[in-house]
Each structure stands twice: as C-alpha cells, then as structure tokens.
Amino acid sequence: MSRGLLLVGHGSHLDGASSAPFHAHAARMRERGAFDAVRVATWKEEPSLPRALDGFEPDDVTVVPIFMSDGYFTGEVVPREMGLTGRVSCLRGKTVRYTAPVGSHPALARVIVQRALESGATRDSAVAVLGHGTPRNPKSETNIYEQAARVRSMHLFGEVVTAFMDQEPNMRGLLDVVTASDVVVVPLFIANGWHVGSTIPSELALEGPETRRGGRRLRYATAVGTHPMVADVIEELAQDAATW
C-alpha cells in the first residue's frame, strides 16, 4: 500500500497568490516524507477537484481541506466535485479518507498564538481573532469561536476576542469592545489574498502592520493559514485519518 496526501482548497480565478499557501504546505509535507506522493487540487485552479485523483499513484489517499470553516465548501462542494461518499470513500480502486478542515483542528490555536506573538502581542495585549463569517451560513462562524476560545484558555494575553469581516460582531467595532491599549488583530484566513490584503486593512483604516489611533496601538498580523506551522496541523489530521 502506498499513501498519498491531497491538499484541497478554494483557489481563485482572479488572484494568483491565493493558492500559494497550498503549494507551500505541499512542499513542506513532501520534505517531511511521510507520504509517497503529495498533490494540491483546488475548486478554481488546476488540478481541479473532479480530476484531483487522475494519475495519482497512491492507493490510500488522505484528503485534507485547507479551509478555515467547516461549511459549504468542505461539506458540499469538495465531496460533490470529487465524488466522495463519506469520511472514507472507495474511488476508482483507491481508499480516500476525507478529514476535517485545518480550521477546525485544536492544534491551529497554537498557530494563532504564534502569529500574535510574532506581531508583538504580550500579556497586556488584546488579541482579536478575525474570521470571515457570513450571515448566509451559521456554521461558518463555529471554528472561529472555538479557536478563539482555545487561545483564550491559554491565558497568554490580556484579552482574546472574536470579530468578523462579514457578520456581527463586526471588526469595525473592535476598538469599542476591547479595553487594552495594545491590540493585535490575527486574521484567521487561509491566504494573504484579497480580504487580508485589502478588505480588512481598508475597513479598519490600517496604515500597515502597526497603526496608532487615539492613544492605542493596533497591530495587524499576516494570515494564519500561511504559517509554516500549519503543516503540523495537516500532519495531525492525516495521522488521525490513518487510524480510521
């Protein structure tokens, strides 16, 4: 039996950088050598999800969704496009194991902490875990709240709050809900794409990695999903799937 790892993600028709983290994580996983083959497939780019297993030699393939939320894409689009029938599927002679998305794994909280620390967060800081959110799918917020709760339970920072780009509590009210003078915003996104690079800085009127406003300092981390430690999360998800 040979084992393969397939990282699946969204990708983009408009932003060539959005799939970069998938390829970077795939390269890290190849270096670690736990799998005979590692491949990336995306909804919007190539290889596509429906053709993801074409010519992929391993007969036991673990599919890890590189998504933050457990929602429409992980629950509907990826299984439908790949023809998955459940947690373990038999597809064209292969055993295909489909894990939860990286965004739901407890180990991701350590990556959020690392991003906050890299941006200079201290015991006195307020850390805002900032997710996408959407009023159209109530499930999409779940992982954001759970990850923020895990970070809070580590008691490393003065405050840990949750904010969203596209639902309440909205990021625009962030400075009204935290009391610390030092605020670190950690975007719980997969890539430094359009939202992290443009929408959020624009909405929060950020001036760069650090913004001074009304006697307070607002620092902005890069996307959690691009951190090299995400490879640890992928590995844990895959190791767990191997026991199914």
Partner: protein, 216 residues
C-alpha cells in the same frame, strides 16, 4: 538533439539534458534576427518558481487557465531529461497524465451538461444557459486554450492535450452567459487591464468575444 512541442512549449533534449521554454522565445528571435528574449531567464528546477512564473502573462496578468494561449515568454528551464514531466506538470497540470490515459483509451470524459447540472450556490444558474450559449462559451474559451475539449467530441490531433472535463473557468463563463440571457449587456471595447476571468466586467476580452458571437 530531439525536439518536441507540448502546448506552447518547446522541449529540446540533447545528451540527457533538456531545455524547456516557450516556443515563442524562438519565434520572437527569428522575427527580427535578434534574440529578443535571449538570454532567456533561467528558472531553477526543482522548486515553485516555474509554477509561479507561468501564472502571469507577458503583461503581468494572472492566468487562471493554465492552457490559455498567453504563455509568458523569456524564460527557460534546464533540467535532466527525466525531470521534463515534472516541469510540464508545473506548467500544464495533469496534461501528460490525461494524454497517456487518452492514448490507452482510459481517459474518463465528463461533458458540460453533467458538470453544469451538479452546480449549486452561485453557479447553479449556469445550468440555465441554453445550448447555443453553451456552444458559444466553449468555442470562445476553449478556442483560447491549448487543450482539446474531447468532452465535446472535438477531434484530437497527434500531439494534442486532451481536456476531459469542462474547467471551472468555463463554468464561470456559463454562469455569466446564463445571466446575460435575461439582460443582454451592451458590447464594449476590450480592455487589457481587466482580469482574464472577470466575465462580469464590461470590456473583458472573453466576455466581449462571447457577446460578439451571440450578436443578433
């Protein structure tokens, strides 16, 4: 030296060493007698540099469709002959896999009707595109791609690259075209600055080509 072409690339192999580069490198050099793009920038292999380099065209515009006939020029990869497949995989994902499966009669082919029918959410409306619109979308987009849409029954050439299933870019075009059935947009001049797959933007080259094809 053995020379062959794959898509817009030319591959030269001599003594076990391969040079892979856009065929247009040579074409440009021949056109005016000067090596316009020479010396081509050497891209390291292995690594991710090549994949990133071919994701933008000569004007720096993102190429979401790997087979789009807009391969950037001015680069080359020198590698061992045995590594050519990996190099081509970075440029045209799965193209050689599908070619081999086609040659063996094992390529799984899925048509546009089936792909449109399974769409949900934002793309569900794409299934409403009428047959003549589906044909026009295929002709415009697939006509700009080095792959042969065998899913539509198009005949494969000897050195062709088969496309076994409509891609997400075509589905995206079908979505917009379905919406245009109820409210036909005014044609516009094409604008280079508009992204390749921004079909909802007036002036997008693919959009305007589609609208021209469907003009009354």
């Amino acid at each position: 030296m053995v020379t062959r072409s794959v898509g817009e690339l030319r591959i030269e192999v001599s003594d076990g060493i391969a040079v892979v580069q856009p065929a247009a490198n040579q074409a440009a050099a021949k056109a005016d007698g000067n090596e316009v793009f020479a010396p081509a920038r050497a891209i390291a292999w292995p690594g991710d540099e090549l994949r990133q380099a071919v994701r933008s065209d000569d004007l720096g515009r993102y190429r979401p469709l790997s087979g789009a006939k807009s391969m950037p020029r001015g680069w080359k990869v020198e590698c061992a002959e045995a590594d050519v497949e990996g190099v081509l995989e970075s440029v045209y994902p799965l193209a050689l896999v599908h070619r081999r499966q086609w040659d063996r009669g094992e390529l799984r082919v899925v048509g546009l009707d089936e792909v449109l029918k399974r769409q949900t959410g934002r793309y569900e409306v794409a299934a409403e595109l009428e047959s003549v619109g589906r044909d026009a979308a295929r002709e415009v987009l697939c006509g700009d791609c080095v792959r042969t849409p065998v899913w539509s029954g198009e005949r494969m050439l000897n050195d062709g690259l088969p496309c076994p299933e409509p891609c997400s870019v075509l589905i995206s075009l079908c979505r917009e075209a379905a919406l245009w059935q109820t409210k036909r947009p005014e044609p516009a001049e094409t604008e280079d600055a508009i992204p390749y797959a921004a079909f909802d933007h007036s002036g997008n080259a693919i959009r305007e080509a589609y609208l021209a094809k469907r003009a009354p």
